[in-house]
Amino acid sequence: MSEHELTCGIEIHQQLDTTKLFCSCRSGLVESDEGTFLRRLRPTASEMGEMDRAALLESQKGMTFRYQAPQGVSCLVDADEEPPHVADEEATDTVLTFATMMDARIVDEIHFMRKLVIDGSNTAGFQRSALIAMDGRLEMNGKTVGIQSICLEEDAARKVDAGDGEITYRLDRLGIPLIEIATGPDMHSPEDVKEVALRIGTLLRATKRVKRGIGSIREDLNISIPQGARIEIKGVQELRLLPLYVENEVKRQRMLLRVRSMLQERGALPVATEPVDVTESLKGSGSKVIRSALKSGGRAFAVRLPGFAGVLNGEDGALRLGAELAGRARTRGVKGIFHSDELPGHGITEDEVSSLRQSLSLEDGDAFAICAADEDKAVAALRMAAERANEALQGVPEETRDPLPDGGTRYSRPLPGAARMYPETDVPPVTVTQERLRLIRDNLPELPDETIRRLVVEYGVNEQQASQIVRGGNDAAFERIARTLELPAAAATVFANTFPEIEREGLDVNAVPDDDVLRLFQMLSEGRFAKEALPSLLREMASGKAAEDAVSSLGLSSLNEDEAEAIVRKLVQERADFVKEKGMAAAGPLMGPLMAEMRGKVDGKAASELLQKAIKELLT
C-alpha cells in the first residue's frame, strides 16, 4: 500500500485544567494514601453466552484492587459510590474549541460511552469517553496530517503499588478530563512524529485550558514498516524521546524480519509448545536463580527450539529474539528465562548445557529455553515463550508495548480488539447547539505563530526566544511578568533558556504554578535577590518549594547593602598585597572569588561597583 519506510500515527492524551469531568473535585495530584477500600471487578457478559466460564474464573482468582481516596481531589463519584454528574462544560468547550481549530466535523449530539477496562484503573470497570469530532486536519510545513478523531474522556486512577494479587490505585487522577486526539497514519520519519506531537501540544496549550508538567500529556505511537506489523507503544510521557522510540521500533521490526528470513532459509518448523521437565540436569546448578527456585519447591523446564540457534542473541546483539521470548514469558509471573544463545553463563556451566542438549536430543543449530520456578508458572511461561518463537516464523506480531526510559520498549500485551463499548446511561447526551459553536468560533485562541510575532513586537524579545516561550506554553506567564513587573528580558531568558535547561536535568519545572513564578519575579524586582540566582531558585521550586521558601532556603533574602560591603571589604583586606601590586586592575581577577561568595545575593553589576569602591578605599 505505502512505499514509506515507516508509517506512524499518534494518539495524544492531554489533561485539561478544569475540575474533574463528572464531578466538581479539584483536579490535582496529591501525596496522600488516606482512606483505602477494596474492590473486585467482574467482567460483565457481553451478549448471552459470550462470557465463558474459564475467563470468569480467571477474573475471580485474579486481582483485588485497593483504592486510596484522598480528600479534596476525590469524592463519591470517583469511588463509584455516586452516579456521575453532567460532563464539565468548560472541559467540553475546550475540546470543541480544539476541534474547531482543527477544522474537524463536530457531532451534533455528544454521547458518552462506557469503554470496558477491568484492570482496576477505573473504579467503575469502564472509562467514560465521548467522540466529539472527526476528520480534522493539521497543516504543517506544507504537509497535511489528518486528525481522525477528537474525544473527551476521563483519566484513569494512578497505580501506586502492585503486589501479589493486589494492585493499589490512588483516585486523585481518576476523572481528570482528557482530550484524546488521534492522527491519521500520516507520519513517515521519527522527526515528523516529534514535530507533529510538538505542534499539537503547542496548539493545545494555546487554549489555555490544559495542564502542564510531566504526566499531563501522554502519547501512544502506532508504528509499522513494510511487511512488519502495527505496534502500539502506549503512554510515552517524554516528548523528546519520541523519535528514539520510533527509530528503535523500526530497528526492532527490521531485526524480526531478518530473523524470519534466516529461519525460513534454515527451514525451521513450528516448535512444540509443551515444556519438558529438566530438573535432573540442573540439580546441582551453581546458578543462583535456578538454585533458589529448586530450593523453594520449584522445578526446571525447557522447550526445544529447533533451528533457532544464533537468532536468540546473535551477531553481537543485533539479533535479539531471546529478549522477545523473555518478555512474553514474564507475563506469566516469572522473573525471566534463559536461552541457549546466552549459555553457558549466568552460573550455568558448559557441562550442564551439554547435559541439557543431550536430554533434549538437540542437534547443532538447535536452541532451547529454560525456566525454573513454581511448576505451573514455569510451564505457562515457557509455553508463552514457545508461542512467541513460532510467531517469529511469521514475522512481526502485532502487540502493545510499554516505553522504557532509555528509549526502548517492552512487551505489554496483545493489541486490544475493538473496544467493548456501551452507552453510559447515567450521563445525558449533550446537544451541541449552533449558538455554542458560534461563541466558540468567535473566541478562538490566538494561534501560536501570531503569539510569537506579538511577543517580538510588544516586548522586544528576539524571535527565537519568543518561539521557545510559546512552544513551552509559557507565553501567558511571560506576558504577566513582562507587563506587571517590566522585566521582559529576565523573563524571556528564564522561559526560553532556563526552563528547558532545568527540564533536561529531569526536574518538572513546568509544573510550578504560574502564580509562583510571578511571585519569584516580584521578589526579584524588590531586590530580594539578584537575577543570577533565578536558575537555582527555580530548581528549588521545581522540587516543590514555594517561591518564598526557595529564596529563604538559599539564604538569598538576607544580604543587605551593608552586609555586602562588609564581605567585599574583607575580601580586599585579605588580598591587600595583591591589590596594592595591581592597583585598579585587581578588580577583574577578584570578581571570581567575590561572586563565588555572593552569587545570587548581589547583582553582578552592583558587586563590581562595590569592589571598585573598596579597592579605591584601600589604595588611597
Binding site: F37, L38, R39, R40, L41, R42, P43, T44, A45, S46, E47, M48, G49, M51, R53, L56, Q60, T64, L76, A79, D80, E81, E82, P83, R105, V107, D108, E109, I110, H111, M113, R114, K115, L116, I118, T123, A124, G125, F126, S129, A130, L131, D135, S149, C151, A418, A419, R420, M421, Y422, P423, P428, P429, T431
Partner: protein, 428 residues
C-alpha cells in the same frame, strides 16, 4: 423525547429499526453506523448512530438529508444453554421482583438484558450455581418505588410456598428504594419460618463490572447455606469494600444513603451479623433453622397513613385526612412531638376511632412522651408509643396489626420480630 414527526416518517418509510446499518449524509458529510435507540433526552431531530469504532454519536437529520439502510439487523437466536446440575445440591429459590439479578450488555445495540431463567443464571453466576441449585422465578417486574402493599402480600404467599416446598432458602433480589418496607412486611406476615429469607439489592446496576449485585448475592447465598439462621433479613455491603457485608433484621433496617453501597444500616441495634469474606460474626441471637411449616398472615389494613411532622404543619390541612383514616403513624420531632394544634387533631382522631402511633423522625433513639408537656398531652390524647421502632416499620406493623389482632395497642407495643427494644447500648 421521541423523534420529531419528520424524522419518524423518514425512518418509517425506510422501515429502519434499531440495529440496522444506516448511511446518513448530513451537511455534506457521510456517516455510516448502526441505528441505536433514541435517548430520552436526545434532540427530536437527532439520530444516534454507533460507528465502527464503537462510539455513539448524535447526527441531526433534516428532511432534505439522505438517509438509507445499508444492511438490516441480523436476528440473533439466544444461545442454547445446558440445564444446570441439580442432583446433590440444595434448592435455593430466587424470587425476582423487578431488579435485574444479573444482566448482559449487548455491545452492538447497547441494550442490557436481564438473565431470568435458571439456565441464564447458572451461566452468568456460575460460582453461585456451584453451591446450590438456583431455582429462579419472576414474580413482578416493577421498580421498587412502585411496590404496593398488595405486592408484599403476593410475595409473602410465594415465599411461604417455597419454604413449605422445602427450599433451603429464599433469596429475593429487590430494588433498594423500598426494600426496608418489604423486609418489614415479610417479617410480620411470615411469622415463624423454617429457613432464611434474604432480601438483596445492589446500589450499582449489574451491567457494570463494579456492580455490588454479584458480591451481595454470593454473600447472601453463602450466609443462607452455611449459617444456622431462619430470619427475614436484608444483606448488603457494610462499607465501600467488596468483602464486607452486614446482615440486618428486616424490621430494623433503613436505606440511609441515596447512592452508596453501604446505604443500608440497622437502626438502634447492631446488625444481626457482619461478614468479612467468609468470616461471620453474630451480634444478636436469632431463630434457628427448623422444620416448621409457614402459615402466613397476609391480611393488611391498607387505610393507614405515614406522616412526617414539620414546623408549619397545620391541623386544618390534615384534619380530614387524619380523622377519616383507620390508622396514622406520625413521625414526630425529637422524643415524639408535634405542635399543639396537631395534638388537638390527634386527640379528635383517636376519639373517633383512628389508631395513632408516634415515632421519631430522628430515627436513632426511642420516643419518650413522659418528658415534656406536649408528650404527656399526646399520651392523654391516646397515641400509641412504640419505643425505638422505625417510622416505616411502624407503618407496616400498624397495617398488619389492625388486620390480624384484636388488641392493636397491645400488639403494637409488644416486640414480635425484633422490631423494637427497651435497651440501646452506649457505643463509644
Amino acid at each position: 423525547m421521541s423523534y420529531s414527526p419528520e424524522l419518524s416518517s423518514v425512518l418509517e418509510s425506510l422501515q429502519a429499526s434499531n440495529g440496522d446499518l444506516l448511511r446518513v449524509i448530513s451537511s455534506g458529510r457521510e456517516h455510516v453506523g448502526t441505528l441505536m435507540p433514541h435517548h430520552d433526552f436526545s434532540d427530536p431531530d437527532v439520530l444516534v448512530l454507533k460507528l465502527k469504532s464503537g462510539y455513539n454519536i448524535g447526527i441531526k437529520v433534516s428532511v432534505d438529508d439522505d438517509v438509507s439502510v445499508l444492511e438490516r439487523a441480523a436476528r440473533r437466536e439466544p444461545p442454547r444453554r445446558e440445564k444446570p446440575a441439580v442432583e446433590g445440591r440444595k434448592r435455593v429459590a430466587i424470587i425476582g421482583t423487578g431488579g435485574t439479578i444479573a444482566s448482559y450488555a449487548d455491545y452492538r445495540t447497547g441494550a442490557v438484558h436481564p438473565a431470568l431463567s435458571a439456565e441464564d443464571l447458572a451461566a452468568s453466576v456460575p460460582e453461585m450455581a456451584d453451591l446450590a441449585y438456583l431455582d429462579p422465578k419472576v414474580l413482578f417486574s416493577i421498580f421498587s418505588e412502585n411496590m404496593e402493599p398488595r405486592h408484599w402480600q403476593e410475595l409473602a404467599v410465594a415465599v411461604s410456598k417455597e419454604l413449605n416446598d422445602g427450599a433451603e432458602a429464599v433469596i429475593i433480589p429487590h430494588g433498594t428504594d423500598t426494600m426496608g418496607y418489604t423486609a418489614a412486611a415479610l417479617s410480620f406476615m411470615l411469622g415463624e419460618i423454617p429457613r432464611p429469607v434474604i432480601l438483596v439489592g445492589s446500589q450499582r446496576s449489574s451491567d457494570r463490572p463494579s456492580s455490588d449485585a454479584y458480591s451481595n448475592l454470593m454473600a447472601a447465598l453463602r450466609f443462607a447455606l452455611e449459617q444456622d439462621v431462619a430470619e427475614v433479613c436484608v444483606l448488603m455491603h457494610s462499607g465501600p469494600s467488596d468483602d464486607e457485608f452486614a446482615v440486618h433484621f428486616g424490621t430494623r433496617v433503613r436505606k440511609m444513603h441515596s447512592s452508596r453501597r453501604d446505604a443500608f444500616r440497622s437502626m438502634n441495634v447492631p446488625p444481626l451479623a457482619q461478614m468479612k469474606d467468609c468470616e461471620v460474626e453474630f451480634n444478636a441471637p436469632c431463630r434457628r433453622k427448623s422444620d416448621v411449616k409457614v402459615t402466613p398472615s397476609i391480611e393488611l389494613q391498607k387505610d393507614v397513613l405515614l406522616l412526617q411532622y414539620y414546623p408549619g404543619m397545620h391541623a386544618s390541612q390534615f384534619s380530614n385526612l387524619i380523622v377519616s383514616a383507620r390508622g396514622v403513624v406520625m413521625s414526630g420531632t425529637g422524643l415524639g412531638h408535634v405542635n399543639r394544634d396537631m395534638v388537638g387533631l390527634i386527640s379528635r382522631a383517636v376519639y373517633g376511632g383512628t389508631e395513632v402511633v408516634m415515632t421519631t423522625q430522628c430515627l436513632s433513639g426511642a420516643t419518650n412522651l413522659g418528658v415534656y408537656d406536649t408528650g404527656r398531652d399526646l399520651i392523654n390524647a391516646g397515641v400509641i408509643t412504640v419505643m425505638d421502632m422505625l417510622p416505616e416499620t411502624a407503618y407496616v406493623k400498624l397495617m398488619w396489626a389492625m388486620a390480624n389482632s384484636d388488641d392493636v395497642r397491645r400488639t403494637m407495643t409488644t416486640p414480635l420480630q425484633n422490631e423494637m427494644g427497651e435497651r440501646r447500648e452506649m457505643h463509644v
